[in-house]
């Protein structure tokens, strides 16, 4: 089995992240609807996963031993689709068919239309439970693949998250890692205004998880955190709280709740692309 080649250079990863941001802005604009804010906040985390940390092979997406990645916050699908395109799972041109009739790139991840996805998501709160299932199966089958699940901070208000949070440490699922895209916003407002999760890290710790808090846009922190979770030798699952900025990379989207679920108009797309272009070295 050939594995996906790891990208060792951080500069190269940064360049990939920028291209994915451009793709996200373009594809949501072309679709005319979608969720730019929570897609842009995921980018470094997905880049590090797909080009550095995950054991996977785009030529063999159903490989038994592949690491599993489940996007529980399904509305962030554009970032995942961009990562899958850059990794070679789907053609990059396909990105512009997002949300169009017949496209494999549905508004939220849809396994019927794109079978390489690990799960169909879009109703928040359910991804960790699915990840527990795949992690349990790995233990049962004595396989050494790792399961990563990405959730949102707003999503963490769902009760099922905490049912799952209780289960995984009890069953010593050290082959499971939850990544929280902690951009501090949800749909209607900032999470601290709607229903605060504080003290967030302490909650996970008290449920029995290894918890690490990082800057989710800094590869210098993202890569070591994901790699050590992947190599976890303790008896606990890992929760990485990645502090991020919703809309990161585009000044007028960053930290602005308006951009949760609105597509940029062509002028706004062009303004965003100009800013991203200026970030290129």
């Amino acid at each position: 089995m050939t594995m996906m080649k790891r990208v060792e250079s951080v500069d190269e990863l940064k360049a990939l992240a920028l291209e994915m941001r451009e793709d996200i802005v373009k594809m949501i604009c072309a679709a005319g609807s979608g969720h730019p804010g929570g897609s842009l906040s995921e980018v470094e985390l997905l880049t590090a996963l797909y080009f550095r940390v995950l054991r996977h092979d785009p030529k063999n997406p159903q490989w038994r031993d592949r690491d599993r990645f489940i996007l529980s916050k399904g509305h962030g699908a554009p970032a995942l689709y961009a990562a899958l395109a850059h990794a070679g799972y789907i053609p990059r041109e396909m990105l512009m068919t997002l949300r169009k009739l017949g496209s494999p790139l549905q508004g939220h991840p849809d396994k019927r239309m794109l079978p390489i996805l690990e799960a169909s998501t879009g109703s928040l709160g359910q991804g960790i439970s699915i990840g527990i299932g795949t992690a349990l199966a790995a233990k049962l089958d004595q396989l050494d693949y790792h399961t990563f699940v990405m959730i949102g901070d707003g999503e963490s208000q769902e009760g099922q998250i905490w049912e799952a949070a209780m289960f995984a440490p009890f069953h010593k699922l050290n082959n499971l890692t939850v990544i929280v895209d902690n951009n501090r916003q949800q749909l209607d407002d900032f999470t601290d205004v709607i229903l605060s999760l504080k003290p967030f890290a302490e909650k996970w710790k008290s449920f029995g998880w290894n918890v690490e808090e990082i800057n989710g846009h800094d590869f210098g922190q993202v890569i070591p955190a994901l790699e050590s979770a992947r190599a976890n030798k303790s008896e606990r699952p890992t929760c990485i709280i990645a502090n991020t900025v919703k809309g990161e990379g585009v000044s007028f989207m960053a930290n602005n709740v308006k951009w949760h679920g609105v597509a940029p108009k062509p002028e706004e797309r062009d303004a965003a692309l100009k800013e991203l272009e200026a970030l290129k070295v």
Partner: protein, 327 residues
């Protein structure tokens, strides 16, 4: 989540005048209720801007709770408020409110029969691009399976507004489905509506089309088209699915001898199934049913989806032609 999409069928000459989305009318009616009754409380699960409960929230911040992304908790809280004499209106997308809150709707609301009101927006597949995870095609069947519930699915802004007021007056649990897209204007602000009483359009006696929600607009287009073909039909806007207007179904069956139903919902347990049950008891006649057939839809524009899944006026016209052959 933007209110610009509209539900215009493309293939008939009878043009519908588009008005507000029923979800927007819900927000306005809720604010009207808030002004009349200090016991009206609104709750939402992080979709207040989309369900338009935010319209109430802006005016009455002290009586408005956004509970977070926690639908089951919201339904339970509504139950407790109702048990304490408040009139809670809890809203979210239909699919999250009903599917995630179902055990709570059953145990905390239907079973003890408390006076709580629930409004699920973004019903059906006409929400478009967000895809099946956000498209509710089962909420009407699920809520009709809650004993003692009133279940309402209005066709336009005026009926929605009036029926929100009827829900508040009714003592007991209620569910209303609203839509995301702009809805055709079918009524005027002075039209009156009663829970459980169908609105009848025309007196055609070849066939009755019984519809709810957006399908009422399509049914009226089908009626106009069929008229040109020399087939005279009447349209029943069955805005209340439960309690169903059994008398209106019996009368339509007796006088027309054929029924077509149309709903933006799975055919399992929705309007068609309920009308068939009523007609079977009173006056069985041949029936055809327009609705979503045992599948989840997909992402696309509202118009494309209504077309692809067979819910627009031409499909109703065809269903009438089919049922007439069996008369």
């Amino acid at each position: 989540m933007n209110p610009t999409a509209s539900m215009k069928a493309t293939t008939t000459k009878f043009e519908l005048k588009m008005g507000k989305a029923t979800r927007e009318a819900y927000g306005e009616a809720l604010a009207e209720l808030g002004r009349k009754n200090p016991n009206v409380i609104a709750l939402d699960a992080d979709l207040a801007k989309s369900t338009f409960s935010a319209t109430f929230g802006k005016e009455f911040p002290g009586r408005f709770y956004t509970v977070g992304i926690a639908e089951a908790n919201m339904v339970g809280i509504a139950s407790g408020l109702a048990l304490s004499g408040k009139i809670p209106f809890a809203s979210s997308f239909a699919v999250f409110l009903v599917d995630k809150g179902y055990d709570q709707l059953r145990m905390c609301v239907a079973y003890p029969h408390v006076n709580a009101k629930f409004v699920g927006s973004h019903g059906g597949i006409s929400i478009g691009e967000d895809g099946p995870s956000q498209q509710s095609v089962e909420d009407l069947a699920l809520t009709c399976a809650l004993p003692g519930f009133v279940v309402i699915h209005p066709a336009d802004e005026h009926s929605a507004r009036a029926l929100v007021h009827r829900m508040a007056e009714h003592v007991g649990p209620c569910y209303m489905r609203t839509g995301r897209a702009k809805a055709a204007v079918i009524y005027s602000p002075s039209d009156t509506f009663e829970i459980g009483k169908a609105k009848v359009h025309g007196d055609g006696a070849d066939c009755a089309i019984i519809a709810c929600g957006f399908e009422v607009g399509y049914a009226l287009q089908a009626q106009a088209q069929l008229e040109e073909e020399g087939v005279s039909v009447r349209v029943l806007d069955m805005h209340t699915l439960k309690p169903l207007d059994d008398a209106a179904v019996a009368k339509a069956a007796r006088e027309c001898g054929a029924i077509v139903t149309a709903e933006e919902h799975l055919l399992d347990g929705g309007l068609g199934a309920r009308v068939a049950q009523a007609a079977a008891k009173s006056h069985p006649v041949p029936m055809e049913m327009v609705g979503v057939r045992d599948t989840y839809a997909e992402s696309a524009t509202p118009e494309q989806l209504m077309e692809k899944y067979g819910l627009t006026a031409p499909y109703i016209v065809q269903a009438v032609r089919d049922v007439l052959k069996r008369k």
